[in-house]
């Protein structure tokens, strides 16, 4: 099969997946117990039954979920309109974009660090198998992987703010709120240190463990023996022959992790009072803000699916066998 066919098939599959996810999400939110109108207004609000009815009508909740609400939503989306958030009374697209920057910064920094460190550590541990280095790296990774994000965040926050004078929360100092990011870059970076560190430690363990076992497997292959026999140095063997093959599971993991990192970001954002997507998702769920929830999950689904597409694409480069099957 040619690469084009392969990619075309993957693309179709991605679109089908997206449709299924979106449909399931739509109905999933609507079976949640509770009343979105009450949730949006809050408890301590004295409003008349008529006003509530008017809100219900405004939100389209007076119509049956299927087919009216469902097709209305899909119809809106096809026109590129994600609707208006009920609780924030702002367009969903705008709300999501306003939070995306912060979260993207946190997630991408955290991912880059954890991937680079995790892979290096895993490679090194696999290479120095059964030495003290391997055992320490393995122990560290297992502990890091098993540590609850929330707890680690609190500990790092307490330590970092006490000994290093790092900020206890927020994405910038209050005085810098609202300024363009490039003007306050040092401040932004200062606020990112602890969240990123937390993120890195939590995800590093997993990458390290996968990389280590993958390296071990690869190192036992015949072609490694051949490479050694050719007289290549250990470094050359690792870099030219082992690394490339051992990377395959990591690519899959990174793509898969993208969805989980956003949910992991909820904890980190909460500990560090960091204004991002994770917290937005949480509040949208609490308030049963369906348009916002749907928009958020659409964004999440699209990013995971796109990440998987990219992973598939990378595979065709990394592993020629994929193209041939």
């Amino acid at each position: 099969m040619s690469r084009r066919d392969y990619l075309f098939r993957k693309l179709v599959l991605a679109i089908v997946t997206l449709c299924v996810v979106v449909t399931i999400d739509f109905f999933l939110f609507r079976v949640l117990p509770g009343d979105p109108v009450r949730a949006v207004i809050g408890r301590n609000v004295r409003i008349t039954a008529e006003t509530q009815a008017a809100l219900r009508e405004q939100f389209g909740l007076d119509k049956p979920v299927f087919p009216d609400q469902f097709f209305n939503t899909i119809g809106q989306w096809l026109q590129g309109n994600l609707g208006v958030s009920w609780s924030l009374r702002r367009p969903v697209g705008e709300v999501l974009m306003s939070k995306l920057g912060n979260t993207l910064l946190l997630i991408s920094l955290g991912q880059i660090f954890s991937i680079v460190l995790g892979i290096s550590l895993g490679l090194f541990a696999g290479w120095k198998r059964k030495t003290r280095i391997d055992v320490s790296a393995l122990t560290f990774s297992l502990v890091a992987w098993a540590t609850p994000t929330f707890w680690l965040g609190i500990i790092l926050l307490a330590a970092g703010s006490t000994w290093l004078g790092l900020p206890t929360g927020g994405s910038v100092e209050p005085a810098n709120v609202g300024k363009p990011i490039w003007e306050v870059l040092p401040d932004v970076a200062r606020h990112l240190i602890l969240p990123t560190l937390t993120f890195t430690i939590v995800y590093l363990g997993e990458y390290m463990l996968i990389m280590r076992s993958s390296v071990l497997e690869v190192l036992s292959e015949d072609y490694i023996l051949t490479a050694k026999a050719k007289g290549l140095s250990q470094w050359q063997v690792l870099r030219r022959h082992a690394l490339k093959n051992a990377m395959l599971p990591i690519v899959t993991l990174v793509a898969l992790n993208l969805g989980f990192t956003v949910s992991g970001a909820i904890y980190i954002e909460t500990v560090f009072s960091y204004d991002g997507l994770g917290k937005l998702f949480q509040s949208a769920l609490e308030k049963q803000d369906f348009p916002l929830l749907q928009g958020a999950f659409l964004l999440l689904a699209v990013s995971v699916i796109v990440a998987n597409l990219i992973a598939d694409l990378l595979y065709t480069y990394l592993d020629p066998r994929v193209r041939e099957t």
Binding site: P33, R38, V45, R46, T48, I154, E173, R190
Partner: protein, 569 residues
């Protein structure tokens, strides 16, 4: 392909280097660049010749205002900010008396139907234009004329006919009938700029207005409110009619995590904390240069017993045993309020009995003669035995088919309720009453109670207004409607009648008598078993600011307090 792949590590290395250098500059810069009014770190002692740094007082809190539009604001946080940026006619001072807000003096006619307020001189809006009595009258009339739009304030103008401005310094309010708590009522009616609020066609349009550039006449001007970032910045108003505050800026920072907030106080990232979690109180007490402020509050926590009338629509789905006053009495005997306070609140509060907290009006409204039911499990067992509830083999009492087996729900956002529910379950079990505690999210809880009456027992709480009217209204039958305040469904014509009577009782002593009687009725009928009044716990750094007011009525962030706070130089 090998070439492509070999490129990647280089790219990775470069990006990592870029990021690292970025982070390193970040670590280095704050030390070298004298950044803007450093709100976080404790300020370095200024050089003797340098002009004084602006005094920026930073508060940490766990919430944030829902909106800066008083028409539709419901969270306490909003009202804390309103008091700082807007001014009502009168305001409550630290002794619980009403003092001048915008009004320097006030009188009412002998029939109590006309109230006249004389305004202070030289009151200016934050944009520099002078405030007139006309502006104040317009703000009050807006609420009277459009109660649907001004949903959050409409309760305060009940019985108001109209406001007018006989001259530029006088505001007059005409009433339909005399009102006993007029001073409290006007303390929530802020003067608001007509040009910002008059253009809305429908109540919804008015309510959707965020008022993010709020203009008022208060001691502080709004500089910025970024709801997403949880940052609200106020600047001192140099033209404030009662004198400029001694500090230059106040910042409110929202923390999503209480441990982080406590840590911020410890390292000086914030100068004061509005709500110290009770579990962290002892720790905060031990911090260097931090003073804790523990004061009785206006809040109460209660066990709610489903008291909806049997003919309520829809039919209450409660255990019928709860209709039996003897069962209610036994439940009251099986609650050790002292233990709840000691164990769950760590002693930071007082056992409760009345729906009116003892702090209202300096204790004037609280009925001290309720004679609370003592904790006595033997008595509880005895009462149930006599009422015909016999212990079954499983230790749970029953009378015929009616088994004393109750659902006990509590809001999932409460940190104390799970422990209270746990303790109650143990005591109730010894009395032969089985309860199944269940954490429920607040919205579902609202859906279950109000006004569906689909529950047995609930744990919940209230924050009371300074005047008893609000707390009393919660138990009236007219509030048990969709969107009303009542959660118990309690309905007692006598109580409802008294509620109306206290609203028009102008003589405080007469009103007090009625208010006391209502507390007694509510206590005896037990729609609520009030178990504690938790204290307010606040804390501030003594090395940064001094002269906070520490009182049960005016909190450290109240406008009276912030007018006298000054930096430690």
């Amino acid at each position: 392909m090998t070439r492509r792949l070999s490129v990647r590590p280089v790219w990775f290395a470069v990006s990592v280097l870029v990021v690292l250098s970025l982070l390193l500059t970040a670590c280095a810069t704050p030390a070298t660049t004298p950044t803007t009014p450093s709100t976080g770190e404790p300020a370095a002692p200024p050089a003797p010749t340098a002009p004084p740094e602006p005094a920026v007082l930073t508060f940490g809190w766990l919430g944030k205002p829902d909106t800066l539009n008083p028409a539709y604001a419901f969270l306490t946080e909003s009202y804390i900010i309103f008091d700082l940026i807007f001014s009502p006619l009168l305001t409550e001072n630290s002794s619980g008396k009403y003092a001048g807000g915008l009004a320097e003096s006030w009188t009412h006619s002998d029939d109590g139907l006309t109230w006249t307020f004389k305004l202070y001189d030289n009151i200016k809006w934050h944009d520099g234009t002078p405030l007139t009595a006309e502006d104040v009258a317009w703000s009050i009339n807006a609420v009277i004329e459009n109660p649907d739009g001004w949903a959050a304030l409409s309760g305060y103008v009940g019985g108001f006919k109209a406001a007018s401005a006989p001259d530029a310094k006088t505001v007059q309010i005409d009433l339909e009938s005399p009102i006993g708590n007029m001073e409290y009522r006007v303390s929530f009616l802020y003067a608001l700029p007509r040009k910002d609020f008059e253009s809305f066609a429908t109540p919804e349009d008015l309510q959707n207005f965020a008022n993010d550039r709020a203009i008022g006449t208060g001691a502080f001007k709004l500089n910025r409110f970024d709801k997403d970032q949880g940052v609200l910045i106020l600047d001192a108003n140099p033209d404030y009619f009662r004198g400029r505050p001694k500090i230059d800026q106040v910042i409110f920072r929202t923390f999503d995590n209480e441990d982080a907030m406590v840590q911020a106080l410890k390292v000086g990232d914030v100068d004061a904390v509005i709500e110290v979690p009770s579990t962290a109180f002892e720790t905060v007490k031990g911090f260097e240069n931090v003073k804790v402020v523990q004061q009785p509050s206006r809040s109460l926590s209660q066990l709610i017993i489903n008291s909806a009338p049997a003919d309520h629509e829809p039919t209450p789905t409660r255990n019928p045993a709860l209709e039996d006053p003897q069962v209610r009495l036994a439940i009251a005997h099986a609650i050790n309020k002292q233990d709840l306070v000691e164990i769950v609140l760590q002693g930071l509060g007082k056992p409760g009995d009345s729906i009116i907290p003892p702090t209202l009006g300096g204790g004037f409204w609280y009925n001290p003669n309720l004679n609370d039911v003592p904790f006595d499990l033997a008595k509880a067992n005895d009462i149930l035995e006599k009422a015909g509830y016999v212990k079954g083999t499983d230790g749970v009492r029953a009378k015929g088919d009616v088994k004393l087996d109750f659902r006990l729900q509590y809001p999932s956002d409460s940190d104390t309720a799970p422990r209270v529910a746990d303790l109650l379950t143990g005591w109730f079990k010894e009395a032969g009453i089985k309860v199944s505690p269940q954490s429920t999210d607040p919205d579902s809880l609202t859906a279950a109670c109000c006004p569906t009456a689909d529950y047995d027992l609930m744990l919940w709480g209230w924050g009371s207004d300074p005047d008893p009217d609000f707390m009393l209204s919660v138990l009236t039958s007219e509030q048990f409607v969709d969107g009303g305040w009542s959660d118990s469904g309690y309905s007692n014509p006598k109580y409802d009648e008294l509620y109306k009577a206290q609203q028009v009782a102008v003589d405080p002593a007469e009103r007090q008598k009625i208010v006391w009687e209502m507390q007694k009725i509510a206590f005896d009928d037990r729609p609520y078993i009030v178990y504690w009044y938790a204290d307010t716990l606040e804390a501030y750094r003594t090395d940064r600011f001094k002269n906070f007011i520490e009182s049960p009525i005016v909190q450290i962030e109240g406008v009276e307090s912030l007018l006298q706070v000054e930096p430690v130089r």
